[in-house]
């Protein structure tokens, strides 16, 4: 039952994106433009390590762009009121939206990672694994905070402020996994982050959409 609710909610967002194409093209353009900016921000002769770090900056900010858009249809069409009234568990709203956001971010990265490899340097398997693990954490926490931010007066302004302090551990884990020889500890840390924050988001989402 729960799985079907989540599936229906995620499908709704994917369908909406397929028809309107609001978010994904913007994320793609943004991430490629960011790489070009980074190329000129790095003085020639900079090490590959610096570029590895910037990959994570690009991922976090691209994710922010997608998350900022995630709850806009819910707000504009007042869909959220209907969803809260629907006879399903409220955490399904978070999970469905999180899965849709994850799909957008993954789609953007399918293009962005090869472009990064083309512009800067090749990617290790550990980096790709870290990106996958980081995506889970980014979407879990980001979707949750996006639902809060959209209900405030500051809206778009607030989301990066709420999200970036929570994203610092993800960046540390991701950069660590990309640059060290044995990335096991960093990948394990990212997995732990995902598990802990997914659990707390899942348990407390109800309080974000109800009073």
């Amino acid at each position: 039952m729960y799985v079907r609710d989540v599936g229906a909610l995620a499908r709704k967002d994917l369908l909406l994106e397929l028809r309107a194409r609001d978010t994904l093209p913007a994320m793609l353009l943004f991430v490629v433009a960011t790489f070009v900016v980074f190329h000129f921000a790095l003085p020639s002769g900079s090490s590959d390590l610096a570029a590895s770090g910037l990959l994570w900056v690009a991922i976090v900010f691209t994710a922010l762009l997608g998350i900022g858009r995630a709850f806009v249809p819910e707000r504009e069409q007042r869909v959220l009121d209907g969803l809260v009234l629907a006879p399903c568990d409220r955490s399904a709203i978070w999970l469905g939206k999180g899965i849709a956001t994850l799909a957008f971010l993954a789609a953007a990265e399918v293009v962005a990672l090869p472009v990064f490899a083309l512009f800067f340097h090749g990617l290790t398997a550990a980096t790709v694994a870290a990106v996958v693990l980081a995506d889970l954490g980014i979407c879990a926490v980001g979707t949750f905070l996006g639902a809060m931010a959209v209900a405030t007066r500051a809206r778009d302004l607030l989301l990066p402020l709420l999200f970036l302090p929570l994203a610092i551990p993800i960046v540390i884990g991701g950069v660590g996994a990309s640059i060290v020889a044995s990335p096991g500890r960093y990948l394990a840390f990212l997995a732990l982050y995902d598990a802990v924050f997914a659990l707390i988001c899942w348990a407390s989402f109800e309080y974000v959409v109800t009073e």
Binding site: M148, A151, T152, R153, A154, L158, L161, L162, L164, P165, L166, I168, P169, I172, G173, G176, R185, Y186, F189, L192, Y193, V196, F197, I200, S204, Y207, V208, T210, E211
Partner: protein, 238 residues
Amino acid sequence: MSPGTAQLTPVAPRSRISLPALAAASLVLVTLALVLVFFVAPNDADQGFSQRIFYFHVSIAITAYACFGLGAWKALLHLWKRDPRADLESYVAVHQGVIFGSLVLITGSIWAKISWGHWWLWSEDQLVLFLVLFLFYAAYFMLRYSVDPGPQRANFSAVYALFGVVLIPVSFMAIRLAKQAIHPVVFTRHGPNFGGWILVTYCVAQVAMLVLAYTLYRIELAGKRVDARVRELKEVLA
């Protein structure tokens, strides 16, 4: 008595220790801690006189954690038991935590300048952690003041305060992963590696800071409650 009086929130504090007694206790304890730190505790063999800032730096850091912990506990009480007073108490505790957290950054920065010659060291775990927490809890205030007072604001604040206590250990692990330690480790698995007057001074300073933080918490809470009460009375009269 007007019919509106029944809706007013109670001002009466539920704690048993009176505020003047607390204020007097913190005055005595902080004075005692100052005397011990500057006149009784011996000079450190390596760092000399400047090491005395440790007694404040560490005890303030622990106090800040205690404030954030109290804020999260009250947030949990709000979400779980729907305690009507918990929202304000959680906010005030987080506010005190941010004040003490800023003091950790300042004292840590001074200590780093004297010991290592730099105002800021990315290699120092606690300083970096408090910077992350400072950013996180500054966003807490942005969030709180971006929502109109009411149940939704209370819920948002409570949920975000709970994220904070989860973020503390997670960030700590992350920062440990990110670097090698050059921060002097005072507490080891074999217990504190100091004794005598140093231990006594540290304990007194720690208790003094905790009592001071609790006193400030109670004062701010009392002020905020009176403020809310006055506003409600004005609405009843209007």
